[in-house]
């Protein structure tokens, strides 16, 4: 044992590194996590601006776009947004938010930052691989962002890039170079994520501190662990899918190009005809959703984990039903692999398959419900401190209830016939992705900011940010349920073209106004973040009086994290434990007091 200890001590004495190795090409998991965090926040604003473009067009279709319209679009278009641009905006909004904001923030930023710290390891299992995982984001970013400036503009076939719209350059100017760059960009993101997930799984299995058994791991770590496994299993399918479309577009293969013309011709766009090749667009949908449905859970499970930790900390109460919480995350991940077909109920897939996918999909609401009930059980009987991270975490729970319940409507195949591809799905996915995942991310930023930078974020402005975000975000996304029930189709450039959609225009205007306010609100966050970085109050080691291991390391932790390798004596949620006499928390590293029996050793 003693030999072991001295070994760990020597390997983690880090020599003083130059600026470049310390802050730029660093293999320290915390620096990499923070790099992912900054990249994600910058991209959040890019994606947000794209969304505002979408909302401006929907609120005031057929009108001149103020100020920027003058120099973006020529007078021949009346300074109005062309439909191709609108399609590009929502396609890239989704692609940026999913692949450059939510996934990198959840797994890249918080996965990296929390995993070694919360399991008591000095770093990731493969620090160099970790560094590579971040630096593979850069070609992805360069390719994606440059695609806005190529001829025809960035991809505009939806983030799902269904063939044949995305496959054939003649369908839209954006389906040429823009689409190609989209595919290449995502390939890079995929490589980055894959390196990350392999690293996370290995680290969590092999590098836990002494005493950190699997069932003493905080929920954040469980969620990151299961998410990483999910990602490692699903990503290869996406990679293959992207490569197949790339081959179709470059080498003239026909994986997704069907024989659609009578007599066996290919497809016809104007005067252009493809050669018959017998491919199937449905094949793309199956492959794409086989990755992208698990990806939906990749985008929520880590937030669920982090929210569980935040809630327990500020409720000053043990997490209710720790094991059921773990099992339900595993349940969601497992079922998540057999529900991809629910995106394709109306696609022409055999309707009998639809029945099976429906039952699996509706049942996935069960583990989600169990999680919700356990969060409520944690809040009930608590002694809750309404800090900014806690407010975001509670908002996560409330909004996830709405997002979860609305999911049942679309899982039910006959109801889906009506509401498929209407605003109902747009409402649902934003309640899960923005209202839940993003709230979780905001909460996590406020929660771990002191550990990342050694300073606190301003609480008052944090609460202002929370209040306005909560109100305006509901103002943007809740009315989408209503226009969805009125069957307003999604991805419509000009909703006023249809008579049954016209009466919904006042709601569209309302949502657009809320969206603009929501956008402006985020500047409060940005300012608070930037100012607190340099001028925030010093946080000390454990500002929230939390139990988990990262709060025993200095703030910010040095390279190698812990001054002494931590030893774990109990689970992470011992708040208000009778065992702790003088305080209302009991850190995982605190040795048991002699004579007091350990009631909940997990």
């Amino acid at each position: 044992m003693s030999a072991d200890k001295s070994h760990t001590a020597t390997t983690h004495e880090h020599p003083q590194l130059g600026f470049l190795r310390k802050y730029v090409f660093s293999d320290d998991h915390k620096v990499i996590g923070i790099q992912f965090l900054f990249t994600g926040i910058i991209m959040l604003f890019v994606g947000g601006i794209l969304a505002l473009g979408v909302r401006i067009q929907l609120g005031w279709p057929q009108s001149e776009i103020p100020i920027i319209g003058k120099w973006l679009w020529p007078g021949s278009l009346g300074h109005k947004m062309p439909p191709e641009t609108y399609n590009m905006l929502f396609s890239m909004h989704a692609s940026v938010m999913i692949f450059f904001v939510i996934i990198p923030l959840l797994t890249g930023a918080f996965g990296n930052f929390t995993i070694p710290l919360m399991i008591g390891a000095p770093d990731m299992a493969f620090p160099k691989l970790n560094m590579m995982s971040y630096w593979f984001m850069w070609p992805a970013l360069a390719v994606m962002l440059s695609s806005f400036f190529v001829g025809g503009g960035a991809a505009a076939a939806g983030w799902t890039s269904y063939p044949t719209l995305a496959n054939i350059a003649f369908t839209s100017p954006n389906s040429g170079t823009g689409q190609m760059l989209w595919l290449i960009g995502l390939l890079f993101v995929g490589v980055s994520s894959m390196m990350g997930s392999v690293n996370y799984v290995t680290t969590i299995i092999n590098m836990r501190a002494l005493g950190m058994t699997l069932f003493r791991m905080p929920m954040t770590i469980w969620a990151m662990f299961i998410t990483a496994i999910l990602q490692a299993m699903a990503l290869p399918v996406l990679t293959v899918t992207l490569i197949l479309q790339l081959l179709d577009k470059t080498l003239g293969t026909n994986f997704f190009l069907p024989n659609a013309l009578p007599g066996g011709g290919g497809v016809q766009i104007g005067n252009y005809m493809t050669t018959p090749g017998g491919g199937q667009p449905l094949l793309w949908q199956h492959l794409f959703w086989f990755y992208s449905h698990p990806a939906v859970y990749i985008m929520i499970l880590p937030a669920m984990g982090m929210v569980s930790d935040i809630i327990s900390t500020f409720a000053r109460k043990p997490l209710f039903g720790y094991r059921p919480m773990v099992y339900s995350i595993a349940g969601i991940a497992g079922l998540g692999f057999i529900v991809w077909g629910h995106h394709m109920f109306q696609s022409g897939m055999d309707p009998r398959l639809g029945t099976g996918f429906m039952i699996a999909t509706i049942m996935i609401a069960l583990p989600s419900a169990v999680k919700t009930f356990n969060w409520l059980g944690t809040v009930w009987g608590s002694n809750t401190q309404y800090t900014t991270p806690m407010l975001f975490a509670l908002a996560f729970v409330a909004m996830f209830v709405i997002g979860g319940l609305s999911g049942i409507f679309m899982a039910a195949t006959p109801v889906d016939v009506a509401i498929h591809d209407t605003y109902f799905i747009v409402a649902h996915l934003h309640y899960v992705l923005f209202m839940s995942s993003m709230m979780g991310i905001f909460g996590a930023i406020y929660f771990w900011f002191p550990k990342m930078f050694g300073r606190m974020m301003n609480e008052t402005w944090g609460k202002v940010h929370f209040f306005l975000t909560f109100v305006f975000a509901n103002g943007v996304f809740f009315p989408m349920h209503v226009i969805g029930v009125a069957l307003h189709p999604r991805r419509y450039y000009d909703p006023t073209q249809f008579e049954f959609v016209q009466p919904l225009q006042p709601l569209n205007v309302f949502m657009s106004v809320c969206a603009l306010c929501l956008g402006v609100t985020q500047l409060i966050f940005l300012t608070n973040f930037a100012i607190s970085l340099f001028g925030g109050k010093k946080s000390g080691i454990n500002p929230w009086h939390s139990n988990t291991l990262e709060w025993t390391a200095p703030s910010p932790p040095p390279h190698g994290n812990f001054l002494e390798p931590p030893i774990v004596y109990r689970g992470p949620y011992e708040y208000n434990s009778p065992e702790a006499r003088d305080k209302d928390y009991l850190p995982q590293t605190e040795p048991p007091t002699p004579g007091v029996s350990v009631a909940h050793g997990h």
Partner: protein
């Protein structure tokens, strides 16, 4: 200040609930009028899910808001020290799973009635739809052709050869039209859906039917209309002003996706339909040598 955040949550969540429930009472913000015979089943299931989800919305969020109200931080108070309850876990696993299973199996019949080929009724009206960027092309059979197909069709059976051959090949006496659905009141419609270029989706909001048009696939679809909405004024079809039902595209298909609009004309009777078919035939074939 402790109760403030519970109130914020309460007010916002209540406002959301009221907006959704309230729009039920304002027709243009709710499900459009349904005229299809399987539509009531769809709407019924929608309301069933509304009921269950509405109940759980109120239940869970009330617990949350009341919990936030009651259990705000007070110095000196201790939170309940508990790690959970097996009994509660069992209850809130078992009860929702029964409800979810019920909801899931309640859908099966309606879904098969809408989409299973074997359950589709024997048609009265047959046509072919080909979607392309950005229009819907309709091909209607001449009256005698329609009669031949109907005669060969068996209840619940496969598509007869004569209909298959009609679907696959254009005929000289077919009536070709763009962006107009024509049928008559009570007629069971069966059509074959194609696409020549990208994926489109055939969506009749008032008939609760949606089906993607997948290039390379022939997809058979059915619906009917239990209300008429038009009459003939000389050679012209006049649609009632308050029943202007629309055909929309529901799958992103490029720049003019939101302009891929068609109109639906449900004639009063088969005779009225045949009368229209006659005038339409004259108009389309007039230019033919």
């Amino acid at each position: 200040m402790q109760k403030f955040w519970a109130s914020v949550f309460g007010v916002v969540l209540l406002a959301c609930f009221l907006l959704f429930a309230g729009s039920y009472f304002y027709a243009p913000w709710w499900l459009p009028l349904n005229v299809c015979s399987f539509g009531p089943e769809v709407d019924h299931l929608f309301y069933l899910i509304c009921g269950f989800t509405g109940f759980f919305y109120v239940l869970t969020l009330t617990v949350l808001v009341v919990g936030m109200w009651r259990f705000g931080h007070q110095a000196g108070r201790k939170a309940t020290y508990t790690h959970g309850s097996h009994k509660l876990e069992l209850v809130w696993t078992a009860v929702p799973s029964l409800i979810l299973l019920f909801i899931a199996f309640a859908q099966v019949n309606a879904w098969s009635n809408i989409k299973y080929q074997s359950r589709m009724p024997k048609p009265d009206q047959v046509f072919e739809v080909t979607a392309r960027m950005w229009e819907w092309r309709f091909r209607y059979p001449a009256a005698d052709q329609l009669a031949t197909m109907k005669a060969a069709w068996k209840e619940g059976g496969q598509i007869p050869d004569v209909a298959k051959s009609w679907f696959d090949n254009g005929h000289m006496d077919d009536i070709n039209l763009a962006n107009e659905v024509h049928t008559w009141k009570g007629a069971k419609v069966r059509f074959m859906l194609h696409s020549r270029d990208v994926i489109h989706s055939f969506f009749l909001p008032n008939m609760r039917i949606k089906q993607d048009a997948m290039p390379g696939k022939s997809i058979s679809v059915w619906f009917d209309a239990e209300e008429a909405n038009c009459h003939m004024d000389g050679d012209k079809v006049v649609v009632d002003a308050d029943k202007r039902w629309e055909l929309a595209c529901a799958e992103l298909c490029g720049a003019r996706h939101s302009m891929m609009r068609g109109r639906v004309c449900v004639h009063e009777s088969k005779d009225a339909y045949l009368k229209w078919l006659d005038t339409a035939a004259k108009a389309t074939h007039a230019t033919r040598p």
